[in-house]
Symmetry: C2
Subunit: 283 residues, 2 copies
């Protein structure tokens, strides 16, 4: 359990890092931050998102914290750990918000000394805007949260991750293996982004917006996509993502065949099944 | 222009027919309805959605109306016109809300006598619920509305269709040929439904909902789909829809190849283009 005496450090003050900081501060925890941008640190202090922060990574500062949450792109996260892991206090728990797990968890756990535990977690929440100025702790309310322990994790570590989720008002906390997480996320999040962006770029027309209903808007909301983060996520999870893309392609092609053959029975059966399954997803 | 003295008949009291009736009644027009269900007629009278209505199609009733709006499935609409068109008053204007245009407009205009004008229109609005009890005239506020005249239409007919859209608070009224409409709708509405339902049915997993973020929910909102209406719409617009499906498949497969080859440049370019295009669609 996290106590109010524990100091929490957020590394990376983007939308998710900022929203974590805001939520933890509002709940009475002392939150510090590391960010490359002094403007973001200043903004976050001024707006009661964090208590203090630095742009430089120094041992005196890092070693104060009992809990560190990394909100960086996956590769930058691994590089940070390689470079600075010896700054981290003995018995500290570190966690993250990274959208991909197996390609980073084992690497990081191997680098860390035995007295620091990394428990990985993934908050299934976001917004189509970025940066600390758009921080909003309310995006976590009723959202899903996935913890992905390995054999190296302890009950204490898992409980800290659960506790972070509880403090931030996540609704549903699941425990998955890193591999199962990556498959689920490839399907639920990466595949959906692949679909949205292909739909957005496949047809050139300047007037589409004058003819559209809400369905096209819904399917392309996430087509506004951060190319640096998502290209990294797609490639790191390449094998699993390609499998999910092929699963979708196969089903889409089955539907296409049914339309081409005017096979009303298959069409209706797919639609009935689709409606039934969708009903489980109503919030 | 529609005058308050004009009586308006809605044929088909589903979600869209009911919402038209409600909006027109609220704006002070006398609205009647034809529906197969006496319960729907009773409900609509009781709730001030219509002034009067019948389940049987009789000449004495139909011939009272200056404007008739059909909110039926496409095939039922054509059958209705074949059977009852001679009940319609001289100089009446008829319009519709059908989601497909070229396969029905020319047929209907051929059946009608010269003294009745059919001006086709398509309100780009809806809801994932059905029936007159879910009627809601607010779904049209700021939505798009497409009018699809042919060479047989007159300025008077087009103005009546425009006027209906204005009374119901649609934001953007476009004029397209029936063929261009069918292509746009195949892309913006039918393709999006094909994608949503394939995504919903392609992977069997009972726990998906515990891991999902908003993106999967957004992309599958319309996966709750009326199989009778949509199988009819897909098949009637088959050729154009198949073209749009192939356009999407080609782009999706280009993205897949870029991921497989770890071709970061192509990936980022697609994402940048996608984000740029999506920005035009913000309401």
């Amino acid at each position: 359990m996290i106590s109010k005496k524990n100091k929490i450090l957020i590394v990376g003050l983007g939308l998710i890092g900022g929203s974590y900081a805001k939520g933890l501060t509002k709940n009475g925890y002392e939150v510090g931050a590391i960010s490359l941008s002094i403007d973001d640190i200043d903004y976050a202090i001024k707006n009661n998102i964090i208590k203090h922060g630095h742009t430089e990574v120094k041992k005196e500062y890092i070693s104060q914290f009992d809990i560190i949450i990394f909100a960086l792109y996956p590769k930058t996260f691994v590089e940070w750990i390689e470079k600075y892991h010896h700054f981290i206090k003995k018995d500290a728990i570190i966690s993250d918000v990274t959208g991909i797990k197996s390609p980073i968890i084992y690497k990081i756990q191997d680098i860390l000394k035995d007295d620091v535990e990394f428990i990985a977690a993934h908050p299934m929440a976001g917004k189509e805007v970025s940066g600390v100025i758009n921080s909003d702790e309310k995006i976590f309310i009723n959202a899903n949260y996935i913890i992905t322990p390995t054999l190296k994790n302890t009950k204490r570590g898992i409980n800290v991750a659960k506790n972070i989720a509880e403090i931030l008002s996540f609704k549903n906390i699941s425990i998955l293996t890193p591999e199962k997480h990556d498959e689920m996320i490839a399907f639920l999040s990466q595949l959906t982004h692949c679909i949205a962006l292909s739909l957005m770029t496949c047809k050139q027309s300047h007037h589409l917006k004058d003819y559209t209903g809400d369905s096209f808007r819904d399917l392309t909301r996430i087509a506004n996509i951060n190319e640096n983060m998502w290209s990294e996520l797609f490639i790191m999870n390449k094998d699993v993502l390609l499998e999910q893309m092929e699963l979708f392609e196969k089903e889409f092609s089955k539907l296409k065949k049914a339309i081409a053959n005017e096979d009303v029975t298959t069409l209706k059966n797919m639609m009935i099944e689709s409606s039934k399954r969708r009903s489980y997803f109503n919030k």
